[in-house]
């Protein structure tokens, strides 16, 4: 598999100004040195708890947020260095589906306009063939064509998420960021959207960065999984390997905390103590040491580097030094 998108030491620090005339400046290290590759046609799952930087990372990977430093190489081109006209020609190749199907559609636009606008902007359709192109895409995501002249408020959450998917797919992207696309939906609707994403991905072999806090969904959908904690990737592995042989204590804790739908599988694990520390003041050394059951003195002072356990299985933890 060849790499489509390559993220190199990406950082995003959000400055926080405090004090008289904002003289003291601290920063929230939302993403703190992340490197990741996504291959052609690969679904990479990105899991982590709220505030760990998943969304910031996803948005930086398509240049919706400017990183503080680092590189995003898309098909051989560093998209962070591009000027606006060349970025615009690349935009159709990178699309995003948002978490909130209620907030991400313009309430004053009809479905036709929501889905079709980007095609007109990028010259993929004109006024004459717009209707037929929109109809084609709507069919792809399972929306009846009769919905074309309706407005977002007339739809349920699942249908709105289909509109969001249709909008992203209208430009034939090669890379798609899915930022918690199903977490606002009910279970029975979630499965419809997951199946739809899976079918579309198989048909069009799009590369997907699938951001979620739901480990079951990520496990079901993604080929490879990356686990994020306080702005850093602590473990990456093929999804099957990760679920069987999780190496990082945080990954193991996450997997153990996930309630199983099999009542016979009793949960006799000890829950992880404490809260996720504030990214404004992350702990020194390994960020996870304050909650880690296996922490040693070394973890408190020295930040672990990334170790290669097996081919395609990396972990950031002193246990594997």
């Amino acid at each position: 598999m060849t790499t489509l998108i390559s993220i190199r030491s990406l950082k995003k620090y959000f400055p926080i100004h405090e004090g008289f005339l904002s003289r003291n400046t601290k920063s929230v290290k939302a993403v703190d040195g992340v490197s990741l590759d996504i291959a052609h046609g690969e679904i990479l799952g990105l899991v982590g708890e709220s505030g760990c930087g998943k969304t910031t990372l996803g948005r930086m990977s398509i240049n919706l947020i400017k990183p503080t430093s680092g590189e995003v190489i898309f098909d051989g081109v560093n998209i962070l260095k591009l000027d606006n006209p060349s970025l615009k020609t690349l935009r159709p190749k990178m699309q995003i589906i948002f978490q909130d199907p209620f907030g991400s559609l313009n309430p004053r636009f009809t479905v036709e306009r929501i889905i079709g606008e980007a095609m007109i902007v990028h010259g993929l359709a004109d006024r004459l063939n717009l209707k037929s192109k929109v109809a084609e895409i709507m069919q792809k995501v399972g929306l009846p064509n009769s919905f074309m002249n309706r407005y977002p408020h007339e739809f349920s959450g699942g249908q709105r998420q289909r509109i969001g998917i249709a909008r992203a797919l209208s430009l034939n992207p090669r890379y798609l960021v899915c930022d918690e696309p199903v977490s606002a939906l009910d279970v029975s609707i979630q499965a419809q959207i997951i199946n739809l994403l899976q079918e579309l991905q198989e048909k069009e072999s799009i590369s997907i960065l699938f951001i979620s806090h739901d480990l079951n969904v990520v496990k079901h959908l993604s080929h490879r999984t990356a686990v994020m904690y306080l702005g850093q990737i602590v473990e990456t592995a093929p999804t099957k390997v990760l679920n069987k042989n999780a190496a990082h204590p945080y990954t193991r804790a996450l997997l153990a905390a996930k309630p199983s739908t099999n009542p016979k599988k009793s949960s006799d694990h000890v829950p992880l103590s404490g809260d996720v520390p504030s990214p404004l003041n992350p702990p020194a050394g390994c960020h996870f040491h304050t909650r880690c059951p296996e922490a040693t003195d070394r973890c408190k002072t020295e930040r672990p580097t990334t170790f290669q356990l097996e081919e395609r299985h990396t972990v950031q933890c002193h246990l594997y030094n």
Binding site: D186, S188, Q198, A257, P259, P263, L272
Partner: protein
């Protein structure tokens, strides 16, 4: 059949809301028992009436637009719906208490958490401020809040989401209720924090022998923490069983559909979603409300709402015409 009367017994409860010209029945004639020292889970998708059921028990439905059309809610054999407001106020927080989904917005931002826990104690027990503070510290310790002596004088914004939910639990258990209603207590929290809170709730339940009515949409939580479970759809209970029985042998097509919609632990097969969407509560289909989405629907399902039938041992009940030959629910 249990000879001890259940702690809570809801009989034929219907709660509806009037909006302009339409009447929406959010809860449509449900029967429900919560036994002593058990965790009963209510599962269902948004809008199925699970929260309205919980709010009805505590009579926290604002009237109008809400109203009770029929039914009884017997708590320790007293009908809560016939109590005066003053008597009901004594039940709330004292015998039955509730934790809400949103710990972020359920606490008052301008009072310290010590004040807010103490308020519940002073309200229901005739104690002094100093005694209430002592009890508050004990409660904070009980819900495992680190350094309670400092936390007691802090404001909600100084606490994380998980901590706030612990404070909510402390308020809820302050007067040692016999029934705790937990409405989606962990939905707003991260998995590792959810794990902590659920462990806390089940250990509190073990210690004090209270019953918990756990409302959730997460079937994993039901499987791991509840003793019995009821499944709601469009204001009705469609299935009720022990947790083991429900997950091993789901009967109602909706329950089966829900379980098939979930990514499995050890199975990579394609998900089987339920087609369509939940109907609008003001425009429910005739007959069984689930029939437009049901794979096993028969002509009869479009006409008549199904009766509830039960297995011989009365351990598993289901409201579906597929199980007509069963015993009629002895409820």
């Amino acid at each position: 059949m249990p000879t001890i009367p259940p702690l809570l017994h809801i009989e034929n409860l219907t709660t509806s809301f009037q909006s302009n010209d339409t009447v929406v029945q959010a809860v449509r004639g449900i029967n429900l028992r919560v036994n002593h020292a058990e965790i009963l889970a209510i599962v269902g998708e948004s809008g199925c009436g699970k929260s309205v059921t919980a709010l009805s028990i505590l009579r926290l439905i604002s009237m109008p637009p809400g109203r009770f059309d029929s039914g009884k809610i017997k708590f320790n054999n007293h009908d809560l719906l016939s109590l005066s407001e003053a008597d009901m106020q004594k039940v709330r927080g004292n015998d039955i208490s509730m934790i809400f989904q949103e710990p972020m917005t359920s606490l008052n931002p301008i009072f310290t958490i010590g004040d807010q826990i103490g308020e519940a104690i002073i309200q229901h027990q005739s104690t002094t401020g100093a005694e209430a503070r002592k009890q508050t510290l004990e409660l904070l310790y009980k819900v495992s809040i680190p350094s309670p002596e400092i936390r007691i004088d802090q404001y909600p914004h100084e606490l994380s989401g998980g901590m706030k939910q612990r404070v909510m639990i402390a308020i809820a258990i302050a007067c040692r209720p016999t029934l705790l209603i937990a409405d989606e207590p962990t939905t707003a929290l991260d998995v590792t924090i959810q794990d902590q809170i659920l462990n806390l709730l089940s250990s509190l339940k073990e210690d004090s022998e209270m019953s918990i009515l756990l409302i959730t949409h997460n079937l994993g939580i039901v499987a791991q923490f509840a003793d019995r479970v009821t499944v709601m759809y469009s204001g009705k209970i469609v299935e009720e069983a022990t947790v083991d029985s429900l997950f091993e042998n789901p009967m109602h097509p909706y329950t089966r559909g829900l379980l098939n919609s979930l990514p499995k632990d050890d199975n990579e097969s394609k998900l089987e979603p339920i087609s369509g969407a939940v109907p609008h509560p003001a425009f429910l289909p005739k007959g069984c409300a689930f029939h437009p989405r049901c794979k096993d629907a028969m002509p009869r399902c479009q006409q008549q709402p199904p009766l509830t039938s039960a297995t011989k041992e009365n351990t598993h009940k289901v409201a579906c015409w597929l199980y007509e030959e069963w015993v009629e629910d002895p409820q």
